[in-house]
Amino acid sequence: MTRIPLARLVNTQTIALVGVLLLNWILFPGFFKIEWQDGRLFGSLIDVLNRGAPVAILAIGMTAVIATKGVDLSVGAVMAMAGAVAATLVMSGQPGWVAVLGALAVGLACGLWNGALVALLDIQPIIATLVLMVAGRGIAQLITEGSIVTFSDPTLVFIGTGSFLGLPMPVVIALALMILVTLAVRKTAIGLFIEAVGVNRSAATLAGIRSRLLLVTVYAVSGLCAAIAGIIVAGDIRGADANNAGLWLELDAILAAVIGGTSLLGGRFSIVMSVVGALIIQAMNTGILVSGYPPEFNLVVKAGMITLILMIQSPFAGRLLTWFGRNRRKGAS
């Protein structure tokens, strides 16, 4: 049996998450209370997990993309498209599983499109995915014809609001996805290849890594993750809202990855820490809600939090630390 080293669990992100949760507990004493009702768990903590699941799922794909020195701005729009496709499919009489497969196919197609622009046409990722970010929401509105398509299909509703082993379905899906992707990148060489391409693509290509195929795959995974998040959000509200589904979530997902310690310059990433980052963001949102502060403070607190975490992680802080260390040693000698 392998032991998980305790030191690996004690890092900036985990401390930040525990800190935010404790703060929530001080503001709202019932925060850690979890109840078992009708065969599933209820409570603020479960709510943080449940509400944080879509961003966590986006962050899993986003982390892989960022690790290749890219970024995927289109995930919010892909969520809207996937939701719209799923909703219109069930409304046209298709069974739920067909709707799910259709939505996943849309996500995959979007990811392949982004990947082709980045890997084959060598377009900067931020621009390549900007195209779909702008056009995608328009396409989603085109599919739903501008209205909110509501449905009551049991499969989709189960994905959005059902529960499995007492946990809400979105949490189960996010957890499964996290384990799957972590195993894929850490138990095979894929993670190493991703990092190599992120650090220096031409060097990686010269060393024999098929960087084009890898990039297309990474963007395809991000598209698939976005589609899954889109199905969850649509199932949760029992409708596809092309205007608001996934709006600005790409920014939350990027933020989750960055808070999780993934470098935007590529080459360093951790899927699990990105999920923790997504939970930190959601815990902050929930904290502001339960504390009774007006929700407008949300964005300001978020901005302050990001700046703080980024400052701690910046090269500047690193240099400051070494400088302090040197001076202390000088003082001692």
Binding site: Q124, I127, L130, L132, V134, G146, I254, P294, F297, P315
Partner: protein, 325 residues
């Protein structure tokens, strides 16, 4: 012809073809009335896009632009309507706040070495959140100065109106073009975008230039916010959501490279006009829904990006051939 002007020329030609096609279908689009409204309706976007052009030429990006527009609108409206300030005093206060905000982002980007994408994203949350903290509602501005400026226009032959804000946008573009292409600051911006390391080795004051670039972008976004508040006679914390994307789109369509070091302020003007043309065409058509705007703009973005790649690939090949000869 200078090879580096090719992408700009391509943008202009595509705009002219698109405009001619639109006029062919709706002859009314050629009237000075429509052209005047073109300038007025896109004034705030154009002004913000000038700042974005500088940021992108320097190799950065500014996601806070739309939020600064919203924040400025709210700040100005609150100062005028709630506190009874004169609009000009309110504008001055807004400029000071925006300049400090932009300078702070520039400082963080340079000294903490955090990517501009993330710094300006935090800036976007801060400005948007700040505006919502001040007020959640739309604050109307009812001041004689506002109605005077809003009704200021020159009548063009054919019944068109060249409004003050429309002219202001054109002026900002002219000044922006002069600053970018004819001043020392402008050449520093290009040098920074070309290669920051070589620029600093050659004596470009990288720290000062970076701070100045983001200050300029925020100040122009503030001016855009003032223009937006003149346009709507109100301040609203959720105003101009997503305008940063339109501005980036206009800059890209205008032929500026997102990797930095290459671009034209005039190209951005054509980009803004092209976005305006798409919107006006869809309004004229009447049967097309508003979501087609997004799809067409996305398609245009794609078209121009691919076009840029092809033009640059061709000119790179040309350079190689020239070297061999």
């Amino acid at each position: 012809m200078n090879r580096s002007l090719r992408p700009l020329l391509a943008t202009v030609i595509i705009f002219l073809i698109a405009y001619a096609a639109a006029v062919f279908q709706f002859p009314g689009l050629l009237s000075t009335r429509v052209l005047g409204n073109f300038l007025t309706d896109n004034a705030f976007l154009g002004i913000a896009a000038v700042g974005m052009t500088f940021v992108i030429i320097s190799g950065g990006i500014d996601l806070s632009v739309g939020a600064v527009i919203g924040f400025t609108g709210v700040l100005v409206a609150v100062l005028i309507t709630w506190l009874g300030w004169h609009p000009l005093a309110a504008f001055a206060a807004a400029f000071v706040v925006a300049a400090a905000f932009g300078a702070a982002m520039g400082l963080v980007i340079h000294y903490l070495e955090v990517p501009p994408f993330i710094v300006t994203l935090a800036g976007m949350f801060l400005a948007r959140g700040g505006a919502s903290v001040i007020t959640q509602d739309s604050v109307p501005i009812d001041h004689p100065f506002y109605s005077a400026v809003s009704s200021l226009y020159w009548r063009l032959p054919g019944g068109g109106r060249l409004s003050f804000v429309g002219l202001l946008m054109v002026a900002v573009f002219v000044i922006g073009a002069i600053v970018a292409h004819r001043t020392k600051f402008g050449s520093y911006v290009y040098a920074l975008g070309g290669n920051a390391t070589s620029a600093s080795l050659m004596g470009v004051p990288v720290a000062r230039t970076t701070v100045e670039i983001y200050t300029l972008s925020s100040v122009l976004a503030c001016l855009a916010g003032i223009v937006f508040s003149l346009y709507t006679s109100a301040g609203y914390p959720l105003a101009a959501v997503g305008v940063e994307l339109d501005a980036i789109g206009a800059v890209v369509i205008g032929g500026t490279l997102l990797t930095g070091g290459y671009g034209f302020v005039f190209g951005t003007f054509v980009g803004v006009m092209l976005l305006g043309l798409v919107q006006t065409y869809i309004i004229f058509d009447g049967t097309l829904s508003s979501w087609w705007t997004k799809i067409v703009i996305g398609f245009l973005l794609f078209l121009f990006i691919v076009l840029q790649r092809l033009v640059f690939a061709a000119s790179a090949r040309g350079d190689r051939v020239a070297e061999k000869a």
